[in-house]
Structure formats: C-alpha cells, structure tokens
C-alpha cells in the first residue's frame, strides 16, 4: 500500500514562529502536493511539485514556501505563522499529474 506520512497529527505554534510541516511518501511518486482544508472551503492547493527541486504555486501560496530536496520528501514552510493559517494541512502524492492521488492523514495546525 502507498503510504504518505505527515510528521505531526496536531501542532500548536505561536504567531510569528517559522513552522515546518514534513511529508514523506514511499512509492517513488513524481508529484507531491500541499493543501489546506477549512470548513466550507474544501481543499485548496497551496503548492505542488512535479520533480525534485521543482515547485509550482497553487491557488493560495501567500505566506507559504516549500522545499523538495529529495523525491520522497516535500516540506511546507510557514515563514512567519499567523492565526489565519490555523487549518488542517494535507499532503498528497501521485504518479500522474491528474488521477489517483494518495493523501496523508493531515496535520491540524493551530496558531495562537
């Protein structure tokens, strides 16, 4: 089974902190994605990567950056956390650019 593992299930951070959310997949997938999910808004794409060191902005990249130094790992960075970044963050990987994506369990981040 494909496994996408996010480093934390729950996280509480203070405003202004730099936050790292880590995601690792074990299926050698080319494509990896970061979403945030908020009630009533569905999932919104923050960034995606289709290769090592490659990244593309999604719908809501402001306040975030990403890093993909190795194929299996895709990190989401909140440069200076703010309360409006309190959300559920979901990482996914996929062998295709559209098709079956495999999601992690999510990280519920609270910024206080």
């Amino acid at each position: 089974d494909v496994k996408v593992t996010q480093s934390s299930r729950y996280l509480v951070k203070r405003t202004g902190e730099k936050v790292f959310l880590e995601c690792v997949q074990d299926m050698d997938h080319e494509n990896m994605f970061w979403y945030r999910q908020d009630p009533g808004l569905g999932l919104r794409l923050i960034y995606f990567s289709y290769d090592v060191k490659m990244k593309e902005k999604g719908d809501i990249p402001e306040g975030y950056s990403v890093s993909r130094e190795k194929k299996e790992r895709f990190s989401l960075i909140l440069e200076s956390a703010s309360t409006n970044q309190t959300s559920m963050y979901l990482c996914a990987s996929s062998p295709d650019r559209v098709g079956e994506a495999f999601f992690g369990q999510g990280t519920r981040l609270t910024v206080v």
Partner: protein, 111 residues
C-alpha cells in the same frame, strides 16, 4: 482549469442507490473527471476516474454524457459507512497540472 459545481449536501437511506451529479461546463478536451471520498479527520481517498461514457469499479460507477459537461457518480446500495464528503475534480494528465477540490457534496446516509 475547469470549475466544478456540485450540490452542497444530500441525504439518503441505507440500501438506496445514490447519484451525485457534478457540472463542469468548460471542461477541456484533455481533461479527465475524478471523484474522491473524504471521511472526517482523514485525507481524501480516490474513488474513480473517467474520460467519457461509463466507468465502473468495485465501489462506484461514473456516468459521463457525450458532451462531458457533467458527470454522475453512482453509489449502489449505500450503507451508513458511505456517509462522507464527495469531491468531483477535472484536470489534464499532461503539463500544467493542478488539482482543485471544491467544497464537495456532503452525503448523509440514514438508517
């Protein structure tokens, strides 16, 4: 990127067939239609994907009319465990991929 529109919520009873329709009026020639299911506190899970006509797998069927401007996910004989949010997406398998999930359809199955 084609925008999708789905009903916000639907109710059903156990044992019934449920059909959830998604409209995607500006779907492009190369776009595929994909459906995901999401339970609370979990990431979405792929259900089915199609390009045209009908696709069936062990959990669902996907009906796509000739004009491809809409699609219908059909869940046969739902059970309580099918209560979830269902998302319809359209996207292109070649370059310039982005997966955009809308708000989805919240299906509530009652006993």
């Amino acid at each position: 990127l084609a925008k999708t529109t789905q009903p916000i919520s639907m109710d059903s009873y156990e044992g019934q067939e449920v059909n959830i329709t998604c409209s995607h009026n500006n779907i492009a020639t190369n776009d595929y239609i994909t459906w995901y299911q999401q339970f609370p506190s979990q990431g979405p899970r792929f259900i089915i994907q199609g390009y045209k006509t009908k696709v069936t797998n062990e959990v669902a069927s996907l009906f796509i009319p000739a004009d491809r401007k809409s699609s219908t996910l059909s869940l046969p004989r739902v059970s309580l465990s099918d209560t979830a949010v269902y998302y319809c997406l359209v996207g292109d398998k070649t370059g310039g991929f982005k997966t955009i999930f809308g708000a989805g359809t919240r299906l509530f199955v009652k006993a």
